[in-house]
Symmetry: C2
Subunit: 358 residues, 2 copies
């Protein structure tokens, strides 16, 4: 650990916590004069946000509002008390959902990217050693993103590169290679989180409701997994590991089967793949639990995990401070037995993330 002594006796890792800037004023201290002036001059408040309500605070647990009125997830001390202390969490990975990639001015987007990461380091990672950081990157400018990864990775408290599932294009495409090259070079896994934008949010256009937007997010994850495997990302980077965050996982078996079947008929299109698509998926992807699919019959969940075919696949996450927060004591169905439960609650995350890198 950056702080010195290696943490022992870990029993709970939260793989998805959201820290939010209180406002753009949380970031301007970490921006150059040029961009601070740009913010003032243009009245910029935030990058483009989600297309459907719920927005911001309304998407948070009601009790996640600090007494002083700060935005949920914006006050490190409050989060430390309400989340880390209350649940005795050993490590919590911070995933700032700040849409730097949706800013059309690339230089400004890059300035925001750097500011968000600096703010995470100073305002959060400095506040409590249990916090670990994700590096926010501007996928609209892959070379700049790669540079930011190389720079940030020197701070060992950052344990992952953060992408959003919705993007201007599928991540297997060549334009994104510099990002994955930099992540692998730095020894960091990539986390792909719910959210993002740049295209209609479903494969057949814009739906009407947030419930469609939210339920349909699995479609973006499916497209990304397909793309990353098809384009040979794991052939070029055999060490690359990807966490699917807040996208569920029960859709994976269907995808693996359809993908394998098509691969048998269409492999001449992707001749660089030397294994079945499902094998790449099994080797290179993990998923976080929240939001855990909850079949009425809990046996069905065990069957899905069996279909995915990898024991150490799931990593627990609360998604604090969002409305659909999963609490550590109730998120995992009773049908999941003790050993598998330990894997989910901390063991797999301890293997996937290097919390003690230096």
């Amino acid at each position: 650990m950056a702080e010195g002594a290696r943490k022992t006796g870990v029993s709970l890792v939260d793989a998805d916590v959201h820290n939010y800037p209180k406002s753009i004023d949380s970031l301007t201290p970490y921006m150059s004069r040029r961009w601070v002036e740009y913010v003032r001059h243009t009245g910029f408040q935030t990058p483009p946000v989600d297309e459907y309500p719920r927005f911001y605070e309304a998407a948070a647990r009601r009790d996640a509002w600090p007494p002083n009125g700060d935005r949920p997830g914006s006050n490190p001390d409050f989060v430390t008390g309400q989340l880390l202390d209350e649940w005795d969490i050993d490590y919590a990975i911070l995933n700032p959902l700040y849409g730097v990639s949706r800013v059309h001015n690339l230089d400004f987007g890059n300035s925001l990217m750097q500011a968000v990461n600096e703010w995470t380091a100073r305002d959060w990672l400095d506040a409590d050693p249990r916090y670990k950081g994700s590096i926010v990157v501007n996928v609209s400018d892959p070379p700049a993103a790669a540079e930011e990864i190389r720079r940030r990775a020197q701070d060992p408290r950052f344990v992952q590169v953060l992408l959003l599932a919705r993007a201007p294009a599928p991540y297997g495409r060549r334009q994104f290679r510099p990002i994955f090259a930099a992540a692998v070079e730095a020894g960091l896994p990539v986390g792909m989180h719910f959210g993002g934008g740049g295209n209609p949010v479903t494969a057949t256009g814009w739906p009407s409701y947030y419930i469609e937007d939210h339920t349909g997010m699995a479609q973006s994850f499916e497209a990304q997994v397909l793309s990353m495997v098809c384009e040979g990302l794991f052939v070029d980077f055999p060490g690359l590991q990807v966490a699917l965050i807040e996208g569920g996982f029960a859709w994976l078996p269907a995808l693996m089967w359809r993908f394998d079947k098509n691969f048998r008929g269409l492999r001449q299109e992707v001749p660089w793949l030397t294994k079945l698509p499902s094998e790449y998926i099994r080797e290179h992807f993990r998923a976080t639990t929240q939001p855990m699919e909850e079949p009425e019959n809990p046996e069905h969940l065990l069957q899905i995990i069996d279909m995915i075919g990898r024991e150490d696949f799931l990593m627990f996450a609360t998604d604090y401070p969002h409305w659909d927060f999963d609490s550590p004591d109730r998120a995992i169905p009773a049908s999941i037995k003790a050993e598998q439960r330990d894997g989910i609650m901390f063991k797999t995350a301890l293997e996937f993330y290097d919390f003690d890198r230096s």
Copy 2:
């Protein structure tokens, strides 16, 4: 049956066969002089086609070429021999994949729509009573589509309204209501088939390869099922029945679970829904088999069917004349037992489609 005696002793229904015009010259005999002249004047050959190779003939079984060089699926006599006679198929539902909805000139699109349906009636349904028709509709002009449904439904050999999974917008949206109203009024189910267009083919933009396009088609089906349930289509039309054709089905359990879970937290957004989303799905959707998901462990497929929770859910289809044709004797895994197999091969289709309406 339109032809007189009711067919008895049915043991095999093919729910997805594709009839193709040999060229635009197959359709012009059924178009008004205005549009025939337009075709000649503009050199029009075909509506926009798939975005990724394989195209047309290259997507067909090699042996589906008639000796005279006609396009696969374009010669009724040849198809009758190679498909219906060879496999002893009792009914075969014709789904012409002709992209009338992608023609930007709505009047021309409507002319093509009417011509395709007339061509199906005259060139195919007249050729053999085992053929049953799907009504092609122009979803870019819902009122015209509704009118076409009302007109065509008077011919009882048409047993379904045909939509494509990719569309300008999700089908739950109000603009499409006239289509569903007309289908229900005519007592016809709606079939939603692989294909279509109008938006990037994945929820995160354009992928590079046909294998992604094909494997990713499930995303469009997911978005459509979500939309149709969320927008209250089955509240307004409790009699509406929908067949998912060539989109697979193993992705349904994950969707149902995520959807139900979100509904519990977000139902105020869709207050017209009085049941769980999964209940609407179970009551109003069926799926065809081809392309059947093929897990390595055949037990997994039975588990998926159990998760969907409806015994009479699957209907057999060959997808003739396409490259990934499923043959009646080998498509259904041995793990599926006799009674369930009969349901798949003909019983469910006989209940879902009214082949003897008059």
